[in-house]
């Protein structure tokens, strides 16, 4: 059993700020994350044509890594971090991912040596534990995944991450049905259980190889909900429900740290403000400079307490201003420069608040993720920190309470959002306080309704 968080690393929400964390981490080439400055974390995807062979892939990553570093020294950025999110071949063939990590690290070393630029490298193997129809979380694919982590750690990746998928089979079902108890079960309970297993093992590999177990994200579930919710005018999911999925996800992402992760948390974990309030570990975030990858309604807000600032993903291709990775990395680094100026001039908290206010009332999601409210969600989670069900439920209830209490002249919600919120509130109030009851009720319900749900094989029920 892992040790659960039952208190928060920060005494007050106002103590949190970008660039600083309670427990900074350091890469091999001098990059300190969360130690007082914000650094760009550049993300990229190879062009489809590059996927055909190992050679082409390696060459693609060599080029884009060189491009990014060349641009960074041209503009005078003191530090840069890269994240390689594996395409499926790189994880399924662990030597591919390992070689690519090595090639990238070698380039970083050369630049570090020649210019003194501080560099970090994150590798994020894909969660390949999925058959065509089913999740197969435990078994041969799991072992292959661990092999991949070993290979990229050997290759030189400083930060090890993954976006795990535990619980996704139930979330996919419940997200299209406004089923809030299903969110709690899939994200908070099933997801959390899977995370505990996998992060315990990743930490072991990290320790063995002298690397850093960085962190996870509930991309597979909370981001799915966020994307289905979409923009202000989309009609696929109420944004009040998407944010409930998100706060529940904080309880889940937290498990990674309980099982040994140390940060920087993954960029697309929009729950990371909540998580940072609890763990004090550094986090990556994405937002307005990740429009290349997706659209969301919290572009500035997510900068509020970030330690790495990411573009999520951009396909490698040409633009008038250079290659896509050069363009986006430069914009990211300029954003980081602004934050670092604020820190150096003693205005970090003021800038943080401006970031936050830009999107606090844009959407219920921004309202809850604003660091003061996020901190309150964190408090609700640690109150029952020892129980995955109760803490996820607390997060959901606190979300509903905060939204209900919001100044409705400022956070103006549509009737539709308010109705969904009222329904969620009712569903939450009807929930049991008994974890065992909840777990067995859900087991029964979802076994009946979702044939893809294989509880014994995946969660050792």
């Amino acid at each position: 059993m892992v040790k659960r968080y039952t208190s928060q690393a920060y005494k007050a929400a106002d103590d949190m700020v970008f660039g600083k964390s309670v427990y900074p981490v350091k890469s091999e080439l001098g990059l300190e994350v969360g130690a007082g400055y914000v650094t760009a974390e550049v993300n990229y995807a190879p062009r489809p044509e590059a996927g055909v062979s190992k050679e082409k892939l390696v060459s693609e990553y060599r080029r884009l890594t060189t491009d990014i570093l060349a641009r960074a020294v041209q503009i005078g950025f003191p530090a840069i971090s890269l994240e390689t999110e594996h395409v499926e071949q790189m994880t399924n063939n662990p030597t591919w991912g390992g070689e690519i990590a090595h090639v990238q690290k070698t380039i970083l070393e050369e630049y570090h040596e020649e210019y003194g630029i501080k560099c970090g490298l994150r590798h994020t193997p894909g969660d390949i534990r999925e058959d065509r129809d089913l999740l197969a979380l435990i078994g041969p694919k799991y072992d292959k995944l661990m092999e991949s982590f070993e290979a990229v750690a050997d290759g030189g990746a400083d930060f090890l991450s993954i976006e795990t998928m535990g619980g996704k089979e139930i979330l996919d079902y419940s997200v299209l049905r406004n089923d809030v108890p299903g969110f709690i079960y899939s994200i908070g309970c099933l997801g959390g259980m899977d995370m505990e297993m996998i992060w315990t093992d990743i930490r072991k590999i990290a320790d063995k190889k002298g690397r850093i177990a960085a962190g996870d994200t509930d991309c597979a579930q909370a981001n799915t909900a966020m994307f289905i919710a979409g923009g202000l005018l989309d009609k696929n999911l109420a944004h009040t429900l998407a944010i409930i999925a998100r706060t529940i996800a904080a309880s889940r992402t937290l498990v990674g740290y309980e099982a040994g992760a140390q940060g920087p948390g993954k960029d697309c974990g929009y729950e990371n403000t909540i998580v940072k309030s609890i763990t004090g570990c550094p986090i990556a975030q994405e937002g307005k400079t990740a429009t290349c990858a997706h659209a969301d309604v919290m572009g500035n807000l997510t900068m509020q307490v970030c330690d790495l600032w990411s573009n999520e993903s951009v396909e490698y291709h040409g633009e008038f201003g250079g290659t896509s990775v050069q363009c986006w990395s430069q914009t990211l680094s300029m954003d980081a420069a602004l934050m670092n100026v604020a820190t150096e001039t003693g205005n970090a908290k003021l800038l943080r608040d401006m970031f936050m206010l830009s999107d606090r009332y844009r959407d219920p999601q921004g309202y809850i993720l604003a660091y003061d409210n996020a901190y309150k969600i964190g408090s609700a989670i640690v109150k029952d920190g020892n129980d995955l069900y109760l803490r996820a439920k607390n997060a959901a209830i606190e979300t509903v309470n905060l939204l209900t209490a919001a100044d409705n002249k400022k956070l103006v919600m549509s009737k539709f959002e308010l109705n969904a919120l009222a329904d969620a509130k009712a569903a939450l109030e009807a929930l049991t306080d008994e974890t065992d009851t909840f777990m067995s009720d859900c087991l029964e319900k979802y076994k009946a309704e979702e044939p893809r749900f294989k509880p014994e094989a995946n969660y050792k029920f």
Partner: protein, 253 residues
């Protein structure tokens, strides 16, 4: 520090919202007579038990179980999808209403012991190598909600399987979903293999990675921007539209 947000952003969703609630709008659309009215309301609310109860009463009152499907259940569901198309209600409501309606259909079939002819059959799939299946699930649900029989091949479906399914099922249309730039090329192959086998079935493709420019590069392809376009296209096919006309209807430029 706080702010009056009115100068920095506009909540266009709130601004655009209709004065009436969805419930009020739906109520105006319910049929006047009973039990159709009660059943339509039960579908709108996604209350399966109430749907069945309403159907039971109707059958007790002498109604033909199979005719109830076309005369009561389908029109009741249409209220829901119309409101969705108008942006008044959201997708989960449609999903829950569809679940309720489909239960109702099952009940009617059981009661009559006979199987009604569906409006048409559609084969749905997600491209090989791609696990992003929520878009496909929505497409399939909306098609079912509109009364079509859906053969859902799932996700990460090899080209061979799609071809085999089309041969076996002879559907009126095929749908493909791809969210990754790497996987969508399978659609071209499916197109070629269908043409080779002489099966000129309209092939509607959508999903995050797919755009109209790509879809127009293969003959059978018709671009689907949003899930609701799938039942619309099925309806257009039923009304006799050919490939060229479908492209004209669903292509934006």
């Amino acid at each position: 520090m706080d702010i009056d947000p009115s100068k920095i952003l506009v909540r266009y969703n709130v601004q655009k919202e209709k004065a009436q609630t969805p419930e009020e709008l739906a109520a105006e659309m319910y049929p006047k007579e009973e039990p159709a009215r009660t059943i339509a309301a039960a579908i709108f609310d996604g209350e399966e038990d109430d749907v069945i109860e309403g159907l039971e009463k109707a059958i007790e009152g002498g109604a033909d179980a199979i005719k109830l499907i076309d005369d009561v259940l389908m029109p009741g569901m249409k209220i829901v999808t119309d409101l969705y198309d108008q942006g008044v209600i959201f997708l989960p409501n449609v999903m829950m209403s569809a679940d309720a309606m489909l239960e109702g259909i099952e009940f009617c079939k059981d009661q009559s012991g006979s199987v009604p002819k569906p409006k048409g059959k559609v084969v749905c799939h997600v491209a090989e190598g791609d696990v992003h299946d929520i878009g496909k699930t929505i497409v399939a649900a909306l098609l079912r909600a509109a009364g079509y029989e859906v053969v859902d091949l799932g996700r990460d479906v090899p080209v061979d399987e799609v071809i085999a399914a089309v041969k076996k099922e002879s559907p009126m249309m095929v749908t493909g979903t791809a969210l990754m730039t790497t996987t969508m090329y399978a659609f071209k192959e499916i197109n070629d293999r269908l043409l080779e086998s002489g099966m000129k079935v309209p092939f509607q493709c959508g999903g995050g990675a797919v755009n109209q420019d790509f879809v127009t590069t293969y003959e059978l392809g018709i671009y689907g921007e949003e899930a609701a376009d799938a039942p619309k296209m099925a309806a257009a096919i039923l009304s006799g539209k050919g490939l060229a006309q479908l492209k004209e209807m669903f292509h934006k430029h």
